[in-house]
Assembly symmetry: C2
Homo-oligomer: 273 residues x 2
């Protein structure tokens, strides 16, 4: 097994492709795993998407994403939990044991970040038995603090982990995503502390300047400022041996020919080690 | 004493004004304290700037800023330390006991964030006796993680505090700046832990969307997403009773008539309590 055997293409990196096209790309470039997104899966149809990855012999490293639990309206909160139950079932149907959660920002109209955090904990608690019944682990992702107000109030790996530790290990884990947490002085100790709770390892680079839309500023591994090898080593030392997803939100990457992107992933991926 | 007696105008909020104009603005609007910046102080001349604030009876709540310690070239590191010694002397001449430090980003050409952090600790260690000799406290500011690569690898109050605690309390403290650290789940406990190390409390709001230049996205207190009262209460409970600086980097604030800005500061400031 070489390091390249651990490469997984997160579908967001080739956003213009549907599921079957992304699967074909993986096959052409000997990429053994894929991280899927719910929206393109729904476009293809769940059964068709599941059949496509199965036929190609691809491992599905994760489904992105559940979450967005923070709503002022109780009905909206309830609907979010129901939608996440569907996402868990979709993950199981696709053959992945990992559903990534982007938990949600501040409750609209309310600055109480503690309230948002408690809504997230409550929602995850409701989902735990459903996740266990489907054999799917909820993977709490800490997002970069620049997204705290509008997308995710969980901003550090340590915080994601403290939340996950409130629930059984088979039901709730964490995502280690370099883009969001590379700057944290507690990162390496928090990875060690996470241990078996690490459900997903995602990589892409921090590049400057930030674009007008800060969601789209991610770079290929090696193009930016993140020191990957110590993070990868810490993740390995913590016991994680699974796929490593490359997930890049970047308009210029999306505009590139997907085969060029796949080649670049294979070329740059070893730099993460 | 009312809450407004604690309002300090950080000069960056009225960036187009020189020192004497900013001082006059404070006097016109009964703002009792000012946070100065080195560049406009140098334009006015150190002695002239010191005389202007003294004649107006203004308290100088801080001088911004020292720091930028992270350089690959040892001569550049040495020059940075020397420049910070000058900044300490300037702070003393201006009558303030607080020099704010923006410590510097990654060392150019090097992704080792630990190296950058150790350079910062080394530089502060060299400055401690100079700070003590001048009766000036170095106030380590944690910057928002979106600035970690290029401006400041110290990204959390807790990290700034752990660094400050390596040095005597009279020489090194920390800045609590709401814009940079509001998102941190450990913020309130870290403020409590900081106690007497809190050398400066700065406020402005987190507004969305982020502008093209993420340095300039700050808002007036109350215009954004930060929940100020619990932070201010924690800072007070930690024992900090000094001025509260409003520091807003925002092109539209800079373009506004300064008297309107000063009025708005007085009108919005009580929302921080």
């Amino acid at each position: 097994m070489t390091v390249l055997d651990r490469l997984s293409l997160n579908q967001a990196t080739v956003k213009r492709l549907g599921v079957t096209e992304a699967v074909d790309l993986c096959v052409r470039h000997d990429i053994r795993a894929i991280g899927l997104w719910r929206e393109p899966v729904a476009e293809t149809g769940l059964a068709g998407a599941a059949a496509a990855v199965r036929a190609a012999g691809l491992h599905v490293s994760s489904l992105c994403r559940g979450g967005f639990f923070t709503h002022a309206d109780p009905e909206a909160r309830k609907a979010a939990v129901e939608d996440n139950k569907s996402a868990i079932a979709e993950a199981a149907a696709l053959g992945t044991g990992t559903l990534v959660l982007v938990s949600g920002g501040l409750v609209p109209g309310c600055r109480d970040i503690g309230l948002a955090r408690s809504m997230i904990a409550d929602a995850i608690g409701e989902l735990v038995p459903v996740a266990q019944a489907h054999g799917v682990r909820l993977a709490i992702e800490a997002l970069h603090p620049m997204f705290a107000a509008d997308r995710c109030v969980i901003t550090r790996l340590g915080e994601a982990l403290d939340l996950a530790l409130q629930f059984p290990a088979d039901a709730v884990g964490v995502v280690v995503d370099t883009y969001h947490i590379w700057w944290d002085a507690s990162l390496l100790p928090d990875i060690a502390r996470a241990g078996e709770r690490i459900a997903s390892y995602q990589v892409c680079d921090w590049i400057l300047p930030l674009p007008a839309d800060p969601l789209l500023g991610r770079g290929h591994v090696g193009d930016g400022h993140i020191d990957f090898p110590p993070i990868t080593a810490a993740v390995a030392a913590a016991g994680y041996t699974g796929p490593i997803e490359v997930e890049i939100f970047n308009e210029s990457v999306w505009s590139a020919p997907p085969d060029e992107t796949a080649k670049k992933l294979r070329a740059t991926f070893p730099q993460a080690f």
